[in-house]
Symmetry: C2
Subunit: 228 residues, 2 copies
């Protein structure tokens, strides 16, 4: 399985990096050639990625990078908002000096990137900031869930961070979140994180839909699932 695990990571990275776009076919033979292995470990990697919901493996019809509908995306962002706010609530309850320092450092990095207007760097630092919060929940299982979903959404998150003023607004929201966690105010930390994440989802939905419509009605129209 050594190869299969390495390949799983490599394919996942390629998807995250945007080398394979949503809807692209992940052909076993070409991937095998590209990585210089046989189809066997490629298939094993693809099936694992499929089980994690990263790609769509349709029996007998090959694997493709999943193409979440706007509804799917909204549901994923809403779920992310719930999970992140849970992390924030626990972080506020269980804050340690180490967690505090980690979040502080990540926040400082975001600050620097935002003031330089470097959105690529902000994107990376933003991720560190959020991951610091996940860890601060001191629940590694919950944190792992948060990591996984964060990764799955990263492609969509990146796009909408491009707007300059969103960068500064995001930074301010971070400051508020950190403040609430430090104050030990579980409720406030949860609420602020929830809004922070959900506003990203809404902005993205708007961008995709090309309209400033009511998300409630958009959501309610479909019941299709996404995972496996």
């Amino acid at each position: 399985m050594s190869q299969a695990f390495r390949l799983k990571q490599a394919i996942e990275d390629a998807v995250i990096a945007g080398e394979f776009r949503p809807g692209d076919r992940l052909d076993e033979a070409s991937l095998a050639e590209r990585f210089g292995v046989s189809r066997t470990p490629i298939r094993e990697a693809l099936l694992q990625l499929g089980a994690e919901g990263f790609i769509d493996v349709r029996p007998r019809r090959g694997a493709i990078v999943s193409v979440p509908s706007p509804t799917d995306l909204f549901e994923m962002f809403e779920t992310m908002a719930e999970i992140e706010s849970a992390c924030g609530r626990l972080a506020a309850r269980r804050l340690t000096p180490e967690s505090d320092a980690a979040m502080e450092a990540a926040h400082r990095a975001c600050e620097a990137a935002a003031h330089r207007g470097d959105s690529e760097q902000y994107y990376a630092d933003n991720r560190n900031f959020h991951e610091a919060i996940y860890r601060a929940s001191r629940n590694s299982f919950l944190a792992d869930q948060a990591f996984a979903l964060h990764k799955r959404l990263s492609a969509y998150r990146r796009i909408q961070l491009r707007a300059r003023n969103r960068l500064l607004q995001s930074l301010q929201e971070h400051a508020g979140i950190l403040e609430a966690i430090r104050a030990g105010d579980e409720q406030l930390a949860a609420t602020r994180l929830h809004n922070h994440v959900l506003v990203q989802g809404e902005r993205f939905s708007d961008m995709v839909l090309g309209l400033a419509g009511d998300r409630r009605s958009a959501r309610a129209s479909s019941t299709s699932g996404t995972a496996k």
Copy 2:
């Protein structure tokens, strides 16, 4: 992949049914013989189950049914509590007549089983009740996450529902949850669900640890991960 998907389900069922206990080795050759297929689809099934966190696949050392530590279990129950309360919060916000009817029906079934003292049946009906809440969130992605985690915890949940009086207490909690969702009280629904789930985790931890100790201190002692 047709075979592989069927096998994945079959092996998962066997694990849930307790046929394979935590720590048991899932030998590729014996599974292949048992199901009358070659090792290839067996491997594919095992790797998928591994990616979902259902079993532990250690490269070159075979797959075993995962053995979560008490800390892991507590973290999983705590995460389940957070996800379920999120479902309850959304259910209260978005309640429809259909969701209401589904939850009502499931609750009635629980009631009947509880009064007969039929814990096996209550176990099944309880699952339906919780799944009705997940669906009532009208967020299928979140609901899928909840289903998945519920399944992973089912083995541990079953054990502690054996206690007779816990059955009746559980039923009463269900009634309170349903009431809060119907009243549209998001906060109350979330809180009640959170407590309902977490008390199960605590009871289980107590059972496992064989002591009525302080869970906070138990938790804090480890930082080991679980997922993939």
